[in-house]
Symmetry: C2
């Protein structure tokens, strides 16, 4: 087992705590030095080039960050995780005590996977999925009237929703002609009503996702859909499949036409490359595309085993985040894709990052000394430019930014206006923002002055294909995991979501059939808010 | 003219600076005191009840916040704005120097509007719109084949996009049967391609929105749509209408079938109740519904003239925000609607708030001493519960939350599961979150302990109708405006978005036809990022 120490117990921490007193000043560079800096601070993988010249650092900081990574054994722990180490654990108290093997779901492209058992399970589920998709395609699996399924309604919440949803949106350009997917997650009845108004129910499959088979919101939404199917004279069992733990209440052939399994070593927010994501993505994109998708993720997982932070992009992003958050004191991180296809990806990252690293207890069950994960937020780029970028440039809060862009568009439909294409305008804007944030600008009119020194990185890919999407997903998963290791927290549990659930149950007790269950505070709150 | 002083120049500020040292502790209250507190700290208007018992305050803080509001003449300045005061101004330097009259666009329900001239202009445009909608309905305004228009493509960006877009999403349940709207904003060519793949082009109107008539992204997207129309053998002039300033390049009957005017006294992010929002909303919802919508907004504008912070909800939200941000040091604000219909509303508020108040220069062109606007972010509630709420409950960052919910659903389609309806589950969850964040919970297992004292407010409405949506929009507009007045900044300009535009132009110069325009840094960046 690799040792587990927090970043602030390393000798590198002392250096960094000293270096942060005089962070690098980007506004004093002339154009030549700025250009030199750009050459110095970028690194390339087969998927992305990462440009970090706009970060407030120099070689000394980078070297100290490398030492921090080494002293905390970040890459060693990542390898331990991939092999099946029990990383979801807090010592000395009751905890989930599980392996963390989302990487194994996609480790199917090498002779010797890092964890054979988990990869074997993944391969088995993939074969079931392949057959399922072929049967839909071939017409053997169809509705009661012998018509093919054209639509899939994905019912899940949190980790069973945001990842698959954002990836479907990102890869819409690659969807199979005539295939549609809808997502039903919120317990809001208007959400279900709006989805049900739009779908061709007789031609719809329903994929219900819950590891435990007992998630309240998901079961409620499933019931609404089943009721709608019945009302339409359809047999729900013909339409529903489940994605759940083996042996859960949802592993029930009487209720589901097919069940695909997920395992307790894959957390919800890391489950997009398990059956949680792949059943829906497979229906939407086809089997070959999802293999390309998980291959991208798997390749990135291997790239993340590199120990040099100037080569390992996920590790570098993780450490830049720690530098900005824990040393330079910036409380948030904005993720800004210059790609409409990625419009829901910041919401996925928000969940992935904040649910993983929004913790205050370390892996020895002690309070941590300083900050763990930041608030992560973001929107698609050029829209944001005309909106909240005002605060990024001239506000009193300093927000580090991660820009994501692609050199080529997905559809390849573009046109020149004023001598440049839209894709060129998109990239020009993204690069310009990064430069403007970094360099700032003086002005005689103080209202038109820009202070500069607002850090950002630019992650550039060639084109957002399924493989590149897989790599992007895995890159951010690894980044979050590396940060969790550095903060010495358990990035894989979510005890913080429990209390709200328990309290909601108490309110529902007062609202439900047996009313007045004796919780006076809940009752009082319901009365005063007029919601009883 | 009302005086303009910043909150930190008031005597109330001294009190608050002292009170913040010992903020109210919510975790020590027993259930009875907590219940008492709930009775004390809520206020009702005809649209919403606002519950703020979960804020870290007591009567002493509230009284000081009232004094702060009075000393800064927040309500007085709001009235001055409504009457036509030149509020978009920074003294002593070149600035826009304009009136701020978004409220006048909806001030059509009283005998004596606050600013007669602007309201007259609004009434004139509304009549044009009414006629336009009637002609579409009656079939006089149709496509070249005499078929009616069923679809509208709204082309705009930033303030001309997010508001109308989020409101259309919010009021989808009230849309006219068969009518569809699409939004095209991003310069990303994939965005346009995806929209154009989905629409029935021969039956589509195109509403192009740009005040100046020169917005690069909008003109580019318009060109793509016009080209698509031509390719489909259609006459673009038959399909396009413009929403623009009178006399702008887009006020051109040869190119547009109809033009609706917007005026320079309405900023983009405040323009949802001007023609910018109403043309599209009118097409989607019908004329009566948009009148109900602006009536809700107008009513709220009048409610915002109340000087008692325990009555004026927008003013109270503004001051609670200042207490949390400037005194208790919380850098962000999460807006969390428990309503799927409001799924894009946080993005609109993000723009409204951060573009308005992300400033560092006051209205006398001096650097401000402390913080102005926070980072505003958020997502729909119950989804977030299974995601980033982990950090809200147990992370090291304290995030004040504004919950928004409704007692009844929009569609009224609901069902009981386990004795309660989905709508009841929704509300129970929202209230439970607020209580959990406030009270926290001890535990022997430190990983299951909740620190509590994380402030939130709950804004509750009966049902999200067009009128309530108008009121909600105006409530937040007024909140942002009140905060800007308290910080003594100009909430109505956006100089911070300019530098990025200028730099983007330089990059495009290097990318475009005449290449090598001599900007060596831009050229170098393009080369090193492989984007030339």
């Amino acid at each position: 087992m690799q040792k587990r120490i927090a970043y602030d117990r390393t000798t590198a921490h002392e250096q960094l705590a000293r270096l942060k007193e005089k962070p690098f000043d980007l506004t004093t560079l002339d154009e030549a030095s700025f250009a030199k800096r750009m050459q110095q601070y970028h690194c390339s993988s087969s998927y992305f080039s990462l440009h970090y010249w706009s970060q407030l650092l120099n070689d000394e900081v980078l070297t100290a960050l490398q030492s921090l990574a080494d002293e905390c054994a970040l890459v060693g722990q990542f390898q331990e995780m991939k092999k099946g180490g029990v990383m979801n654990h807090v010592e000395g108290v009751e905890s989930e005590k599980r392996q963390v093997l989302h990487t194994a779901c996609r480790d199917i492209f090498v002779e010797q996977p890092c964890n054979e058992e988990a990869t074997d399970q993944a391969v088995r589920e993939l074969s079931k999925l392949k057959l399922f998709l072929e049967e839909i395609e071939g017409g053997q699996l169809c509705n009661g009237k012998g018509e093919s399924f054209t639509t899939l309604i994905h019912v899940g919440i949190g980790g069973s929703d945001l990842g698959p949803h954002s990836i479907c949106e990102a890869l819409k350009a690659y969807s199979r002609p005539g295939r549609k997917v809808f997502f039903l997650s919120n317990v809001d009845p208007d959400d279900a009503a709006a989805v049900l108004r739009q779908v061709d129910l007789p031609r719809s499959l329903v994929a219900v996702v819950s590891k435990s088979g007992t998630t309240l919101e998901t079961l409620t939404n499933e019931e609404m859909v089943r009721k709608a199917l019945q009302t339409a004279g359809l047999d729900p069992r013909e339409h529903c499949v489940s994605i759940t733990g083996e042996g859960s209440p949802m592993d029930a052939p009487k209720r589901y036409r097919r069940s695909f399994y997920m395992y307790d070593y894959v957390g919800g927010r890391y489950s997009s490359t398990s059956m949680v994501g792949l059943v829906t993505l497979g229906f939407y994109l086809g089997y070959e595309q999802i293999i390309e998708f998980i291959e991208g993720a798997s390749n990135m997982d291997y790239l993340c085993e590199e120990s040099d932070i100037r080569v390992n992009q996920a590790l570098l992003l993780a450490l830049l985040g720690i530098w900005n958050h824990c040393y330079l004191g910036m409380p948030t991180l904005a993720v800004l894709p210059y790609s409409q296809a990625l419009h829901r990806f910041p919401a996925h990252l928000q969940q992935l990052d904040m649910e993983s690293n929004g913790k205050s207890i370390d892996r020895q069950a002690k309070s941590i000394n300083d900050r763990s994960g930041p608030v992560v937020w973001g929107e698609v780029g050029t829209n944001g430019q005309h909106a909240f970028f005002q605060l990024l440039h001239q506000g009193t809060e300093t927000v580090p930014c991660e820009f994501i862009g692609f050199r080529r568009s997905q559809y390849g439909q573009d046109m020149e206006v004023d001598g440049t294409t839209s894709q060129q305008k998109l990239i020009a804007n993204m690069l310009a923002q990064s430069v403007a944030l970094a360099r700032g600008q003086d002005s005689d009119n103080p209202n038109r002055a820009f202070p500069g020194n607002r850090p950002s990185s630019v992650l550039l890919g060639e084109r957002l294909t399924p493989g590149v999407m897989g790599a992007l997903l895995a890159l951010y998963e690894a980044k979050v995991v590396f940060q969790g290791f550095a903060w010495n927290i358990n990035s894989f549990d979510q005890e913080g979501v429990q209390l709200g659930k328990v309290l909601a149950g108490r309110f529902l007790g007062e609202m439900g059939a047996d009313k007045d269950s004796g919780d006076t505070l809940a009752r009082f709150i319901l009365e005063i808010t007029g919601t009883l």
